[in-house]
Symmetry: C2
Subunit: 218 residues, 2 copies
Amino acid sequence: MTTNDRPRRGPGRPAKSEAGDTKAALVDAALRLFAQNGFAGTSIRAIAREVGLSESALYAHFPSKKAIHEAAMRVAGPLVAVVALEETPAGAGPAEFIRAFTDRVVTAWDTPRARQAIGLAVRDGLIHDDGLKEGIDGALRGLAGVFARWIEEGRIRDDLGSPEDLAYALLAPIAHARLMGLHGEATAGQRGDARRRMTAHAELFARAVTVPPSGGDR
Amino acid sequence: MTTNDRPRRGPGRPAKSEAGDTKAALVDAALRLFAQNGFAGTSIRAIAREVGLSESALYAHFPSKKAIHEAAMRVAGPLVAVVALEETPAGAGPAEFIRAFTDRVVTAWDTPRARQAIGLAVRDGLIHDDGLKEGIDGALRGLAGVFARWIEEGRIRDDLGSPEDLAYALLAPIAHARLMGLHGEATAGQRGDARRRMTAHAELFARAVTVPPSGGDR
DNA sequence: ATTATCTATAGATCTATAGATAATGC
DNA sequence: ATTATCTATAGATCTATAGATAATGC
């Protein structure tokens, strides 16, 4: 179970040589355990032991259990992919953009940190948190803005639904695959499945929204 | 907080008049609390108190905390919507079928029981459970079968992706909306948003997959 | 003196059990 | 006698604090 099993220290300040970044190690262990077992299911004892410390050493770094949970959430970082949207060059055509955007999201979400972060969010009800909801809505609006321009320019179909609905049709399946397959406890196989599902959906979506070559039945 | 506040009983067997179905009331309270706070975040004390009992009265009905959690999961019932698929008449056209199927799923998922069930699944990691994954895959396969037939018959587009990918493109956004908006703590407004999102997506999907009227640009 | 650890412990809370008590149904 | 409740309590575990100890950096 214990990923990080440094030897238990003796009393007193540790020698310079063996004095690692304890605080960072604690946050790391906390992130992992909270994501796995939730807030109530994780004791500060378990966190301290994972790093090879006594419980009270933890209290020298964080004033309370809540504080270390908050620290873990901070390093987990933002859960949504607004950044990926801003970073994707919109110059290319719709299909290329959709592919590039999805690739960025998939890469960002398949890091160990991001996988633990989503576990944390799911376990402790943050998935029903207003902050997360606003983040998602922001990402949807950003994507909808891009789609709205393309609809105006006649580069994607205007008869399917609102730009917002289109954005949802692209993003939701990707987000769903993340929840099901890019979490902290996912095996390499599950992660591969999730990534394939994401890119496959992006391709399907790109084909569905781009204006079909007009004329000629069959 | 307490939804069910019957008066606390005295010692001894309660009179027939005030002897409700305690076991059912316990499971009900347990489902609500486990969904809200997770397994570790819910004490048997809290469950008993919610029903107006002492902790030990609970142990007369269930041998352990785990047992009452399992009972709660059983009444929560299956999480996925294979039933909805079987119940939807496939005789109608693709668009009608997609609409009818989605309506059934939405209705099934917006019951208080189903909303608590999804909270339970999310909170205690069942979302990453193999059983649930198999249920989802089963629903996807069933839907994919319907789509495969329609593709053969030329009633929906064959150039978007595999029947499985199509099934995912329809189901995942609906499942995602459920997670975000049809859970135990969702307000009426959030639930309405989620339902609208589901039906809007079904409409978009139906338009995207049906074969476009051929011929004539613009 | 400060920092980072330890041991020991207080006080709360948690699961579970033992034994008492009172209504029910035979 | 059985059933459904209670009170009391054991024993484990949890968060948090107090005070000791030893290395560091001035």
